[in-house]
Amino acid sequence: MLPSPDWESLALLGQIAVKSSTAVLLAAYGEIVAERSGVLNLGLEGMLLLGALAGFAVGAATGDPAAALGAAAGAGALGALAHGIFVLSLGAEQVLSGLALSLLGAGLTGVLGRDLLGAPGLVLPSVPLPVLADVPVLGPALCNQPVLTYLALLLGPLLWWALGRTRWGLLVRACGENASAAYASGVPVRLVRYGCTCFGGALAGLGGAFLSLSYTPGWKEGLSAGQGWIAIAMVVFAAWRPLRALWGGLFFGLLTALQFTWQAEGAQWLPLWVLRAAPYLLTLLVLALAQTSAALRRRSGPPADLGRFFRPGG
């Protein structure tokens, strides 16, 4: 199946697969946490862009990676907070508010970023891990990447543990599955949901910063080019589970990497549009399959209270 299975090609394939899944992974993790708490946020694309611009702007101004990443996370969280105020406090329709956030992010960054187009700025390069980076194939793929990619790789298992194995995770899941019951047993549902939404926004912001500081350093209008939407598809594809999102994200990344390496080798194993449409087609397939039986739906369906407005005592 692989074009030319020599070590070097495989290493390149792996490296690009992992790198091109980073922003999607970070955004998808954030969305998983938000949705598990019951808040649907379709504003990922907007938050990616807010993070990308804020990270780039602060990085260019200060040259400080920590400040740049902090600004990116802050900008994403701020966008998510706005969504939270609308849907959690004002009871707005979650789908509409999320879409509005996406549009707002695209428009706002387009205007605010005008003077930064083409400006030089901070670059967060790949950081090879000593020894490990020299392991054939896996080394370049997993151990010679920018810092945010390491974060994306580590967050999968971390969130799996946190959501499934800790008290904190239980609170989050309780809010998403049955908000009234959680509230009755003393969980501050709205507060938890605000926290999870903002956490999701911060991760999406970091995903954006990865694009503007590491992947293709510099600010461009619409830089994320639909990666936020792929991340939303990824959440469904992964059935709201962080570890499955990690595998899914890497798999989507592999599809992306394949279309590039095949083109560069002049090989046409599949039409390019098949590879490009694959993430969406696979997501639809998973959605359809999950509907085939009640058991499957329970195991891989959305949190029961996802998208429902909760008014304490109401």
């Binding site: 005008r114 080019a225 990497a257």
Partner: protein
């Protein structure tokens, strides 16, 4: 009484009408030519629209207070463009420019509704008595850039191509023809069927994928990355990987690709100044303008540090010949990828062939996606 009032009213109305009719000629004496531009993206886009904006600035400088210029950015969709074009026509602009291919249909439509307004459309093929077209022969610059790369011995170029339309195909072909000429002159051995590998972005700009494609090409041992997207990201990625690059549209070195040997550039200034001057002089026609180095419509960005003096001299000598009107960018014999002779020795590809080109010359590796 009633009649009196009626006649008084008519008198007032009549004088108002006279005023209205009389006013325009009085203004026309001191009137500036009002020119409007409909632009594809932001004037800071570092690529296509920045080049047009540079051209507008040049034209304003040349014509000073003889013109009044307006422009609208981000007219991407035909529907947006139509609204903007019609607004300018309604506001009484004398000349409206549409600066990208997708403006063709809306402009053609609006031009039919406003016969007194002049329209000029960039890179299209539809005209009306009051609508002309203009484009520059970017392929001349491509040929020279390829020649330069060939003289320097780059024989395994990777091109990050954008959309599979004739303008891009023509550019790839001219670059490859120049490359083969340079390689032959520099006596570099090369694979005649594969000196330029094409990968498709299927977009005019897509920073993430431009970067990835360039990195893949560099990793696959291509020795030079040919950027064709609007922005310099593939050139920048090449520089980061220590591979040479050639930019497109605007000077890639200005936007962070310091390793660029040169960039082929659109130079719209002289084109715009010429068109507006003809409107001022009353000699404007619905021409189909297609100018290269001889009309100052294209350029080569300053050469990078890596370019040897001797190579620069040869390229500039060829450029000087082009500026005198000698265009060898598509001079025969030219064979296509299958080896079929498409342009005979002594012939040149006609403008019609150039504007509808859908085949690659020998030396190009890759195919046109459907």
């Amino acid at each position: 009484m009633r009649l009196k009032r009626f006649s008084a009213l008519s008198l007032v109305l009549l004088s108002l009408c006279l005023l209205a009719v009389g006013a325009p000629p009085a203004q026309a004496a001191a009137k500036k030519v009002r020119v409007a531009f409909v632009l594809l993206e932001s004037i800071n886009d570092q690529g296509w629209t920045t080049a047009h904006h540079d051209g507008i600035e040049y034209m304003k400088k040349q014509l000073g207070d003889k013109v009044e210029v307006s422009f609208t950015e981000n007219a991407l969709s035909p529907a947006d463009a139509e609204r903007v074009i019609r607004n300018y026509a309604r506001q009484g602009y004398d000349l409206v420019f549409g600066t990208t291919f997708t403006h063709m249909e809306p402009m053609f439509k609006v031009a039919g509704e406003f016969p007194q307004v002049k329209f000029m459309h960039c890179s299209g093929f539809k005209t009306r008595p009051n609508m002309g077209t203009y484009m520059v022969r970017i392929e001349q610059g491509e040929y020279l850039a390829g020649y330069l790369a060939g003289l320097m011995g780059y024989r395994n170029v990777g091109t990050v191509a954008t959309q599979p339309i004739p303008e891009v195909v023509r550019g790839i072909n001219a670059f490859t023809l120049g490359l083969v000429r340079g390689l032959t002159e520099s006596k570099t051995s090369f694979d005649a069927g594969k000196v330029n590998t094409i990968v498709w972005l299927k977009s005019w700009r897509d920073a993430v994928n431009e970067t990835t494609l360039a990195e893949v090409l560099a990793a696959k041992k291509h020795d030079l990355i040919r950027q064709m997207a609007d922005t310099a990201d593939s050139s920048k990625a090449a520089c980061m990987k220590g591979v040479a690059a050639v930019g497109y549209g605007t000077d890639a070195a200005k936007y962070g690709a310091s390793c660029a040997l040169t960039s082929t550039t659109f130079v719209w200034g002289p084109v715009y100044a010429g068109i507006v001057n003809r409107v001022i002089a009353g000699t404007w026609k619905n021409d189909e303008l297609f100018t290269g180095f001889e009309g100052g419509g294209v350029g080569l960005a300053p050469f990078g540090k890596a370019v040897p003096k001797a190579v620069a001299g040869k390229v500039l000598a060829l450029k000087a010949r082009m500026a005198k009107g000698e265009d060898m960018s598509f001079a025969g014999p030219i064979a296509d990828q299958a080896g079929v002779l498409r342009v005979k020795k002594g012939d040149k590809a006609s403008d019609k062939e150039l504007l509808s080109m859908r085949w690659f010359v020998k030396g190009v590796s890759g195919s046109l996606p459907e």
